[in-house]
C-alpha cells in the first residue's frame, strides 16, 4: 500500500471515530426502540402482558379485525377505525382552529412596534412553560358540569341544566387547540416578522387592493411559516395522549389512548406495537406531504 492510500484510510478512520457518538446515540435512542416495536408487533401476547417469543401476525390482524373468543369468527372491527378516523379528524380540526386563531394573532404581534413584540410573545409562551397536565385540567375546570361556564350560564339563567361538555369531541378539540396554539403562533410570527412590508407598499402602489396584496404577495411569502405551524400542530395532535385522556375520557378516545390501553388493561402488547407503527406511518405521510409542499413551492408559481 502506498503512502497516499494509507493517509486516505487514516482519514476515513478518523471520520468514523468522529461520527461515533452521534451514530451511537441515534442507534440507541431511535433505531433500537423502533426495531423493538417492529419485533414486538410480530409476537404473541403474554398472559399477563409482555410477549411470548412466538411469531404471530395477530397483532397486525387486530388493527382492523376482531376474532370472536368463542367461535373464532373473524369480523371487521370498526372500533379501531373509528378511533383512527377521530384522531385524524380532531387533529385536522385542531390545526384548522389554531390556524384561524393563530395567524391573526401572529399578524397582530408582528405588526406591533418592536418593543411591544417581546411582551406579546411572552404572553403567548407563558402557558407553554406550564405543565401540560395543569393546563389541560384548567380547561376542564372551565367546561365541566360544575365548572366556570356552566355555573355562569346557570346563574345568568341562559340554561336550566348544565350542558354536558366534558368527555365529548368538543372537549378534546378545545383542549388541544388551547394547548397547541403557541406552536402555530410562533412559526407564523417568525415568517410575518421577516416579511418586508415595503413589498406590500409596492403592491399597493401598483394598484393592488388590500385583498389582492394579501393573496398574491403576503400569503405566498409567509406560506412556509404557515405550513410549518400546521405541521407542528398536526403531528403532536395526532399522537396526543394527556389531553384526550382528560378531556375525552373513555368516550372520545384517540390513537394515543388506544395504544396505551393495549399495554395496560388490554394486555395485548403486539397489537399496541402494531397500532403505534400505524401512527408512525401516518406521521410520516404528513411529513412527506409537508416536504413536498415546501420544496414544490420553489418549482411552480
Amino acid at each position: 500500500m502506498d503512502a497516499e492510500a494509507r493517509l486516505q484510510q487514516d482519514d476515513t478512520r478518523r471520520r468514523w471515530a468522529l461520527a461515533l457518538p452521534a451514530v451511537t446515540i441515534i442507534t440507541l435512542f431511535s433505531i433500537l426502540p423502533l426495531v423493538l416495536v417492529v419485533v414486538y408487533s410480530f409476537l404473541t401476547p403474554g398472559d399477563f402482558g409482555n410477549v411470548k417469543w412466538q411469531l404471530s401476525f395477530e397483532g397486525w390482524f387486530g388493527v382492523l379485525f376482531e376474532r370472536d373468543i368463542f367461535d373464532d369468527t373473524v369480523s371487521f372491527s370498526d372500533a379501531h377505525l373509528t378511533i383512527l378516523g377521530r384522531s385524524v379528524a380532531l387533529s385536522l380540526a385542531t390545526t384548522f382552529i389554531t390556524l384561524v386563531l393563530g395567524v391573526p394573532t401572529a399578524w397582530f404581534i408582528a405588526t406591533r412596534p418592536a418593543r411591544q413584540r417581546a411582551f406579546w410573545l411572552f404572553m403567548i409562551t407563558i402557558p407553554f412553560w406550564t405543565n401540560l397536565l395543569v393546563r389541560t385540567i384548567a380547561v376542564q375546570e372551565m367546561i365541566r358540569s360544575e365548572g366556570v361556564f356552566n355555573s355562569l350560564f346557570l346563574w345568568l339563567r341562559v340554561i336550566d341544566a348544565p350542558i354536558q361538555m366534558m368527555f365529548t369531541n368538543f372537549a378534546v378539540l378545545l383542549g388541544m387547540a388551547y394547548v397547541f396554539l403557541p406552536l402555530m403562533v410562533l412559526p407564523v410570527y417568525a415568517a410575518i416578522e421577516k416579511f418586508d412590508f415595503r413589498l406590500a407598499e409596492a403592491a399597493y402602489d401598483l394598484y393592488a387592493s388590500r385583498l389582492y396584496c394579501a393573496r398574491k404577495v403576503i400569503l405566498p411569502i409567509v406560506r412556509p411559516g404557515i405550513i410549518a405551524g400546521s405541521i407542528l400542530v398536526f403531528i403532536p395532535s395526532l399522537s396526543a395522549y394527556v389531553t384526550p385522556r382528560i378531556m375525552g375520557g373513555g368516550k372520545s378516545m384517540m390513537l394515543g389512548n388506544l395504544i396505551e390501553m393495549q399495554f395496560g388493561q388490554g394486555r395485548n402488547w403486539p397489537l399496541g406495537a402494531a397500532l403505534a407503527l400505524t401512527l408512525t406511518a401516518l406521521v410520516l405521510v404528513a411529513l412527506v406531504w409537508y416536504t413536498r409542499l415546501t420544496s414544490g413551492k420553489r418549482k411552480d408559481v
Partner: protein
Amino acid sequence: MLDLRNLTKRFGKGDSAFTALHEVSFSIKEGEFFTLLGPSGCGKTTLLRMIAGFEPPSGGALVLDGRDIAQMPPNRRPVNTVFQNYALFPHMTVAENVGFALSAMGRPKAEISETTVRMLDLVQLSHLAHRKSGELSGGQQQRVALARALAPKPRILLLDEPLSALDMKLRKEMQVELKRLQQETRLTFVFVTHDQEEALTMSDRIAVMNGGRIQQIATPRELYDQPANRFVAGFIGETNFLPAHCTKGLLTLPQAAASLPVSYADGPVTLMVRPEHILLGETQASALTLTARVERLVYFGTDTHVHLQAEGELTLIARVQNGMRSGAPYREGETVTISLPSEALRLLPQEVA
C-alpha cells in the same frame, strides 16, 4: 400638471412633533424630468411618499390634472414608484413582476403579456423574463423595477434615489439609460437624489431642498450660475465665498485695492465666485484684483486646483486648466496676482454660516 400647494408634513404629536416639510409649493410640467436634490434627511423621500400617497399631508393641497388627490389612496393614484431598494416581489419571475400592476387591475391576459414583453424589451431584459427576481444583479433588478413601474402607464413616475446602490460605472450607464427612457416615453419623472452631479446631468429642472424647505427651483444651468442663496451655491459645484461690503453702489473687498460699481443694497454681502472663473496672473478692466500666495497645488488631470491665501485669512481655490505643455504653471509659495472678473461675481445676502 402636478401642483403642490403649501404641502406640510409633521411627524409625531405635541412636544415631540417634527416638521419634515414646511409649506412646499411648486408645479411640475407634463413630460418634465424634475429632480428633488438635497442632503440626506432633508425630506426628499417624505415628499415623494406624499405624492405617491403613502404619507397623508398634514396641510396643503396636492393637485393632479386639476383634481386634489391628497386623500386618494396609492392604489388609485395614476402615479408609480421605483423604490430605493427596488422592492421586487421575490417569489415572482421578472415577467410576473412587470405584469403585476396590470394583473391587479384585472386586465385581460393578452394585454398583460403583450405589455410585459414590450416593457422588458424597453429595458433590454427580455432574455431574463423567466428568472426569479432574486437571481438578478443590482443593475438588472433596477431595470425590472423600472419596467414594473412603467407597465401601467402612470401619469408620473417617481424615483427615489434609484441609482444610489449601484457602483460608479453602472450608475453612469443607468443615468444615460434613464434619460433615454424618459425621452422615449415622454413621461413625467420626479427623480430624487442627493448627488448634485447626477441632478445636473439628467434634469430639466431641479428643486434644491434643505431642512424640509425648498431653497430654489431652476434649470441646472441657472442653479449653477445664479444660485439663490449660500446653501444652493455651496451644494451645487465648488465655490469660493468672500465677505465683502456694499456702500452707495460700490462693492469693496478688503483685500482688493479698487472697488466695483454694483446695484445692490448697502451693507455686508457674501461674494461668490466659482474656482474656474478666477484668473491667475492676469488683470482685467472690470475686476477685483488682489495678490495671494500659492499654498498648494492639487493635480486633477484635466485641471489643477490652486489653493490660494490672501490677506486677512482669506483662502480661495482657483481651477486652472492643464494645457498641452507639461509642468506646473505655478510653484507653491509663489505670490501671484489674481482677478475676479465682475461678470463671474455673484452677490448673496450675508448669512450666518
